[in-house]
């Protein structure tokens, strides 16, 4: 560890740290910056983070100056303030000041720093500002170079993290152009660039003109698109998810998320949602309520021999749901026919972020449920159903079967098996062939609408939080499971009681 001073305050940091990182980590000073990023290599381009270092004649860029023992860093002198003012003035010369139509407004570093450090008026009297053409960088990103501060975070991210040089720097000097040459930016992490851009020069087409960022409610939650469990903010407005942004967690996803996870929110307010509880008994389709159906399920299960009832859930569920599911199947109904997946999910990392396992909670299943029932071997239940050995089959989240490599075929087979069962129950938030084939269909909640915990591939238990409120008509899956279990065990108690009465009557 190295001991040094920031504005007179003693600070300790590991050897090799740069001044800005050490100062920020110790919360000793707030140094403004554009090009610095903790996950990228130091570049020293923006000159916004200049600080005074005792003994050095020139101001030093704190992002490229390593700390040394006894170093005295000054961030609050008039000289530093003047340098910040000068650099910001240079930036604003050619900046279009189109904040009212810029997506970045509200979370723009140039805006914040201008407010905090810049002079209040412009001295630029020399004609038109530098202009570039708008440019389409591919299906994901859109470039407005006029707003650019030339920090090259975008190019450096592609180069250092993704290993892709489609986005590059062209021309030089005052005409420097950050652009593509033909090949669009299509890598699977490209939308991180829009986030990295400290201004609105590179914007996500998905979020373009969707909302002002200060209207968004940020919910700290977890991405459920694969087993990595990236930490995210789900940002919503008017009970509608508007975008997903990464939340820093060095142990899981560092500063990034993949584009698939980032864009995987549209189903929440999409038209594929299961809206209402439906019963399709003897060819008659009737809309009903989850309460009604749950009572009927409990009733039915109470009447069915336990080895003719089957239960299937997928690792789409939270730990709490898996716990309740196991209690219902193993303890209350006490059937051997229950499983946590049709087939075992794939395992292993796909790249630095994504996992081959597309289910968010396989690890939770292994922790809470795998020792019981059929584990991930749900196909045995399907086989039983196909051979007519089941009267009742309760399915949670059958749509997620599609996430297996041969998911479409599995899903078709599952839907086919349902028709062989007298009463099939599907609890799901998205429509699927299975939900279409179900006798009773109960709407579920998406991960954006419920609280719970999940275990990621590393075995870390992380919280998902409710970002938007669900329809009041929907009962959360966990509550539904509890209702059924409770109803069944109460009935069991009653019967046990009655039996006891009879027995005591017989003895007397």
């Amino acid at each position: 560890m190295i001991n040094f001073f920031v504005d007179g305050k003693p600070v300790q940091a590991p050897e090799g740290s740069m001044v800005i990182q050490a100062a920020h980590d110790a919360k000793a000073a707030e140094i403004p910056y554009f090009c610095y990023h903790p996950a990228l290599k130091p570049a020293g381009l923006c000159r916004m983070c200049l600080v005074e270092i005792e003994g050095a004649p020139k101001l030093q860029a704190s992002c490229t100056t390593p700390i040394s023992e006894g170093m005295k860093v000054i961030t609050k002198s008039a000289r530093v303030a003047q340098a910040r003012k000068d650099v910001l003035e240079f930036y604003l010369l050619n900046h279009p000041l189109d904040c009212p139509i810029c997506d970045k407004a509200g979370e723009c570093m140039l805006q914040d720093y201008t407010f905090a450090h810049a002079r209040q008026n412009s001295r630029f009297r020399d004609g038109e500002k530098r202009r570039y053409n708008y440019e389409d960088l591919g299906p994901k990103l859109f470039r407005d170079m006029d707003r650019c501060v030339h920090c090259l975070r975008c190019v450096r991210f592609c180069e250092e993290i993704v290993g892709d040089d489609n986005l590059s720097v062209f021309q030089r000097g005052n005409h420097t152009d950050i652009s593509i040459f033909g090949s669009p930016v299509v890598n699977d992490f490209a939308l991180n660039i829009a986030e990295l851009c400290p201004v609105g020069a590179l914007v996500s087409k998905d979020f373009l003109y969707q909302s002002r960022v200060w209207h968004l409610k940020k919910t700290e939650t977890i991405c459920t698109s694969c087993a990595t469990g990236c930490n995210i903010y789900m940002e919503s407005k008017d009970q509608e998810v508007k975008r997903i942004t990464p939340r820093i967690n060095k142990a899981v996803n560092d500063h990034w998320i993949c584009d698939y996870g980032r864009l995987n929110y549209k189903y929440v307010n999409g038209d594929q949602r299961v809206q209402e509880a439906v019963s399709r008994e003897s060819g008659e389709i009737a809309v009903t309520t989850p309460e009604d159906l749950s009572a009927r399920i409990a009733d039915l299960l109470g009447r069915t021999p336990k080895d003719r009832a089957g239960f299937l859930i997928t690792p789409e569920a939270t730990n709490e749901e898996i716990f309740e599911f196991r209690r219902l199947a193993e303890k209350v109904v006490a059937t051997p026919n229950f499983a946590y997946g049709l087939v075992p999910p794939e395992e292993g990392k796909l790249d630095f972020l994504r996992n081959r396992d597309k289910f968010p909670n396989s690890a939770g299943v292994r922790r809470i449920g795998a020792s019981s029932g059929l584990g991930f071997n749900g196909m045995k239940i399907v086989e039983k159903a196909e051979s007519g050995d089941l009267d009742v089959l309760v399915l949670f989240y059958p749509h997620s079967v599609i996430k297996h490599p041969n998911g479409a075929a599995l899903l078709t087979r599952l839907a086919g098996a349902l028709s062989k069962v007298k009463t099939s129950v599907v609890i799901d938030y998205l429509k699927s062939p299975a939900s279409d084939a179900a006798t009773w269909l109960i709407p579920g909640l998406t991960h954006a609408e419920k609280n719970g915990t999940m275990d990621n591939a590393q075995g870390m238990t992380q919280k998902i939080r409710r970002a938007i409120f669900p329809s009041p008509a929907v009962i959360p899956e966990k509550d539904l499971l509890v209702r059924i279990s409770t109803a069944l065990s109460e009935k069991g108690e009653r019967e046990k009681g009655r039996k006891g009465e009879r027995e005591s009557a017989a003895t007397t």
């Binding site: 650099v87 001295r123 593509i180 090949s183």
Partner: protein, 652 residues
């Protein structure tokens, strides 16, 4: 190679195949460097030579042979101003309009060419015969104005002399005839330019005059002793920064066993400086000898000479000399039987002043955009291809053979205590006899200008002198007369330095606002664009200066310019920031009254009448603030703005 020949959007290109000779040269370039990417610039030169420009097919081919991507090729090609992305004319007429040439009427030449060809600068004639461009410094300041046509330099040009040349171009022929170059004064005590009058380009001639004696002696010494001797001589880098050479050599890590590189900076391009070109083309063996000695002293495994792309002839001369030296066992394996091996390779730039900055030079040599690196790590620790590297200027290295042969004490007899030795002063601008003068450090500037260079032209008086290349602070006539040519004296009289030794002399007809505007345009053009103050500040300052010169000055402009200079100075990655800020600050410091006069009169006092129509200069935008203090009608001001940076118009 085939799989990479795919163009953007996945459309297969019609594959480009170079001719067998070109392909052979390209393959030689690719084999020359430790990484294939490093061959990017030479390969692009070869393709441009053959095709005339960097075509898409050519870029795809270059990407394939250098194992990079088309994006990389275009990223690099657009950085360097010598690469054309579109076809240009058969003859590329490039008129240097930088300061020294401009002082001697370069703008007249541009106008003259424009009239002759019926095109304006930046255009190509409809028959694709001629392309006319204004270019930045060609390192021919003492023989300016200089015009480069394809590979050839035409110096000391006037409209009349140029006529003959242009006529043959119009007829589609390459112009013939003698091409005089800078005057070299045969001063009595020369170290670098010794025997230059005896045509010692060939190895035999060079040996007859005692050449390679220094190398023989050096190979008998211990490498540390050579470094100590050079250190004791007190020689400082002559490229501009003036860092003690011996000290620099000693920065290399001790007990390091991997490759060590020596790079020679022949990217001469600082306006006012033209000494290295003459060393390359007239004293190649002195440079080679110096390189081998320096390489031996630092135990280098390989040496590269980075020559600016415009120097075709010097490149060929030096390449021939290197081949000759290699055949004679002076370069390559086991040099002169000493057991020391070092290869010497030449590398061309492609038109970027910034590549004279040592770390930008390394980036460029690695086949990338010439963007300076963050220091530390310094090149002596982590330089070319990640290995320890020493970078020295051509003239510095050319001094080394004599220092080693005759000893530090002999060398120190020249010059001053703190600045020993001689150096080549490149005098350009308004003197009777511009040229190269190798004189001891500490020579009074009065002697240099008035005795050696014959003083100013008749009827003119001295107004200002830039003592060390355009990046150094300017001196007034009074300061100049008190100064001697060494850092200590220049610092004392006018906070200036000897820099690269380029002395630009201005007489009383020079408009200092116009001069500074032209200079700052150069720095704007040559900024790499990496860091903010230089990229934005230089462009803004240029706009303000153009406006002041055109008669649109505002009362607060001087203060604004000062604050721009302050905002750039010291706040950038490389020294190009200072190179922009120092001239600005010093012109404002020493000639503030002239700036004030421009603003007060709303006109340039040095121009009687604007000549709007004949200038072909790219025009700054016409939108001025509405509340302009100027009483000039808008059109008039715009017209004047178009006629700016003509440093010679006062003499018309």
């Amino acid at each position: 190679m085939k799989k990479l020949l795919v163009a953007p959007h996945g459309v297969p290109e019609t594959a480009y195949r170079p001719s067998p000779e070109t392909e052979k040269r390209i393959m030689a370039h690719v084999a020359k460097y430790p990484t294939k990417m490093a061959a990017t610039i030479p390969v692009l030169h070869e393709i441009q030579n053959e095709v005339g420009y960097i075509s898409r097919e050519g870029a795809a081919y270059a990407a394939a042979v250098t194992e990079t991507s088309v994006t990389h090729i275009y990223s690099v090609a657009t950085f360097y101003s010598m690469f054309h992305l579109e076809p240009i004319g058969k003859f590329h007429v490039q008129v240097c309009t930088n300061t020294s040439c401009a002082l001697n009427g370069a703008k007249d030449l541009v106008r003259h060419c424009g009239r002759k060809f019926g095109i304006s600068a930046g255009d190509t004639s409809t028959d694709r015969n001629i392309t006319l461009t204004e270019v930045e410094c060609l390192a021919s300041c003492g023989s300016g104005p200089c015009v480069q046509i394809n590979r050839d330099y035409y110096e000391f040009m006037t409209p009349e002399k140029l006529d003959g040349v242009l006529d043959s171009l119009l007829a589609g022929r390459r112009p013939e005839g003698p091409r005089p170059t800078a005057h070299i004064e045969l001063t009595p005590d020369r170290v670098v330019y010794k025997d230059i009058e005896n045509d010692i380009v060939s190895l035999d001639r060079y040996r007859q005059t005692g050449g390679y004696a220094g190398l023989k002696k050096a190979l008998g010494m211990k490498p540390e002793d050579i470094a100590n001797e050079v250190d004791a001589s007190g020689i400082r880098g002559l490229g501009g920064a003036g860092f003690p050479t011996g000290k620099k050599w000693k920065f290399l890590p001790k007990n390091y066993t991997g490759p060590i590189y020596l790079c020679i900076n022949a990217d001469e391009g600082e306006p006012g400086t033209f000494k290295d070109r003459e060393i390359l083309r007239r004293l190649p063996h002195r440079l080679i000898e110096g390189v081998v000695i320096a390489g031996y002293a630092i135990r280098a495994t390989e040496a590269y000479v980075y020559i600016r792309g415009e120097f075709y002839e010097p490149y060929e001369v030096l390449q021939k000399a290197v081949d000759e030296a290699r055949a004679a066992g002076l370069v390559g394996k086991n040099i002169l039987g000493s057991g020391f091996s070092m290869d010497l390779k030449l590398h061309t730039g492609a038109g970027a002043y910034i590549c004279g900055e040592e770390t930008a030079l390394l980036e460029s040599l690695e086949g990338k955009r010439g963007e300076p690196r963050i220091k530390p790590p310094f090149p002596a620790v982590k330089g070319l291809f990640g290995c320890p590297t020493i970078i020295n200027n051509v003239e510095t290295i050319a001094q080394v053979p004599a220092i080693v042969e005759r000893g530090a004490a002999w060398y120190r007899k020249r010059g001053t205590e703190k600045s020993p030795g001689t150096r080549v002063f490149c005098v350009s601008g308004h003197v009777v006899k511009p040229g190269l003068y190798e004189l001891p450090n500490g020579t009074p500037m009065r002697d240099l200008i008035f005795d050696w260079c014959g003083g100013l032209r008749p009827g003119r008086t001295l107004k200002a002198v830039i003592p060390g290349g355009s990046s150094m602070p300017v001196l007034t006539a009074d300061m100049a007369m008190r100064a001697t040519m060494c850092n200590e004296s220049l610092m004392e009289v006018g906070k200036s330095y000897t820099g690269s030794g380029g002395v630009i002399v201005m007489d009383d007809s020079t408009c200092m606002v116009g001069f500074l505007a032209r200079l700052i345009k150069f720095y704007e053009h040559e900024s790499c664009g990496q860091c903010t103050p230089c990229r934005e500040g230089s462009a803004w300052a240029r706009k303000i200066l153009y406006r002041i010169e055109a008669g649109g000055g505002r009362a607060d402009d001087i203060e604004t310019l000062r604050s721009i200079a302050r905002g750039i100075d010291g706040n950038t990655i490389c020294a190009l920031g200072e190179a922009t800020a120092w001239p600005m600050a010093s012109f404002l410091r020493n000639f503030e009254a002239e700036f004030a006069a421009h603003i007060e009169q709303q006109a340039c006092p040095f121009k009687n009448a604007p000549s709007p129509s004949s200038s072909s200069f790219p025009q700054p935008s016409s939108s001025f603030p509405r509340k302009r203090e100027s009483s000039l009608p808008r059109d008039d001001l715009d017209a004047r703005l178009r006629g700016h940076d003509d440093l010679n118009s006062c003499r018309k």
